[in-house]
Amino acid sequence: MDLSNPYIQAALQFLAIFITFNVVLMIVAYTVLAERRILGFIQGRLGPNRVGPGGVLQPFADLLKFIFKEEIVPDKSTRFVYFLAPIIAVTSAMMTLIVYPFGPRVTLPYFGQVELVIARFDIALLYVLAVTSIGVYGIALAGWASNSKYSLMGGLRSSAQMISYELSLGLSLVGVILMSGTLDLYEIVEQQSGWYGFKWNIFPQFIGFVVYLTSAIAETNRVPFDLPEAETELVAGFHTEYSALKFALFFMAEYINMFTVSVLATTLFLGGWNVPGLALLFAPGSIPFAVFSVIGFFVKVFFFLFLYIWLRGTLPRFRFDQLMAFGWKFLLPVALLNVVLTATLVWLGVL
């Protein structure tokens, strides 16, 4: 089998995308379950534990329910956009998955040396930003197309919030970019493998990390920034008028987004697949090294997902003006300061 044949490569990539897609869907499904159970524990109750042993089959039950529910389309809605919105949301959420490196370079039998990333290219980080920025349309258009007061408010809030926080999000990444001098995620991760796999960007870029995490939570519309779907004010925000599988799509998009921003945080700040000291145990490039690295990668990602759930169980919601003021008057200046600081240090040769 000639691996350099472009058609075979394309087929392999297609296969990889397919696998990733399914794995991520599984992760999302079980994140939902985990959220419900952990929230239950936080709030002193049990959470879903009936379907399957300890509730492990609950996601599938939910899926079945979504599929068989009645589709209700509001009469006065703008049809085309109404259907388009969830598709945009889920597609843009899924599209970034292909650029994240989830494991180190590994030598496999038959395949030779393989980089554990689906697509590696020059502008990976920009690609992530670009695709994420499309995601806002899903919510905004959903809010507009539903032709409902609550939805429109939710959509408006969401677009304002997402534009505002995207700025600090992008700026918080600039520090890392300045330090690594590339937009290629794979290389950014590799640069963090120094100091026995402990040269993570979080140490020099702690401010950037905090800003990133805050704005990422806001970007994914999670607590305490979940104003677009604030149920106490707006019923369910932008997806008030969505039901059944279309609602499931929005729900899925939100959780995929959570997953992808966690992956990005891991990749950029927590050293990606670098496990400290692993290179002392196994030779880099060997299969066990790769396996443990991938496991380490997912542990970090799950830590962030847990953090999301934890925050949801802990923090109250912002008021909208507080949210905007926080984004523009605190987060953005801090992010700018971080950029200036990093640039100065890089220029001085400290970093």
Binding site: I123, V136, A140
Partner: protein, 189 residues
């Protein structure tokens, strides 16, 4: 293969562009325009300019069009009403101009096609990569870059001034009057 991709993207782009102009609902127009921008990003990729493609999506689709959509939603713009054409007798003139324009464009494209220097496309060059764009931007074209940043600053100030509510303006005026009064008092002293 590339030709196929190009044709697909071009069809998407032109289709969306036509839809944008044809639609009377501004939001549909905006969605169509987003489609145009995405198609163009794809075309930039076929031109081996991935950086510009990404920027295209981030800036146009991610920022400018979000603003436009936001404004459309905020102002709750209705569909355009049809009105009678005001200057009906100028329609033939318009057709004539269109014909001239078409002729000129066709001629120029024909001219490029037949010109002696018609280089092959550069799919593998590093011209479009981030590093080369950055190098160009921060060395040879530093001054234009700085001027652009100044322009952006002016735009920020301008936008804030324009969007400021009239009530704050009145507040400002009263404040101004107050300072004038105090000034006249101090000068009287």
């Amino acid at each position: 293969m590339t030709i196929l991709i190009f044709l697909l993207l071009a069809a998407l782009t032109i289709g969306c562009a036509v839809a944008m102009v044809a639609q009377r609902n501004p939001l549909y127009s905006a969605i169509a325009l987003i489609g145009v921008f995405l198609g163009m990003a794809g075309i930039y990729v076929t031109l081996a300019a991935p950086f510009i493609a990404a920027i295209q999506v981030i800036v146009y689709a991610g920022a400018i069009m979000v603003l436009v959509v936001f404004v459309i939603m905020l102002l709750n713009v209705e569909e355009e009403v049809r009105r009678p054409i005001r200057l009906r007798r100028l329609v033939p003139l318009g057709v004539l101009l269109a014909a001239i324009f078409f002729a000129e464009a066709a001629f120029i494209i024909y001219f490029v096609e037949t010109s002696a220097y018609n280089p092959p496309p550069a799919t593998q060059s590093n011209v479009g990569l981030t590093a080369s764009v950055g190098t160009g931007l921060f060395t040879k074209y530093l001054l234009p870059f700085e001027i652009t940043s100044l322009l952006i600053l002016m735009a920020i100030v301008g936008a804030i001034t324009l969007a400021r509510r009239v009530s704050t303006l009145e507040g400002g005026r009263t404040r101004l009057r107050a300072t004038e009064e105090t000034r006249s008092q101090t000068s009287a002293d």
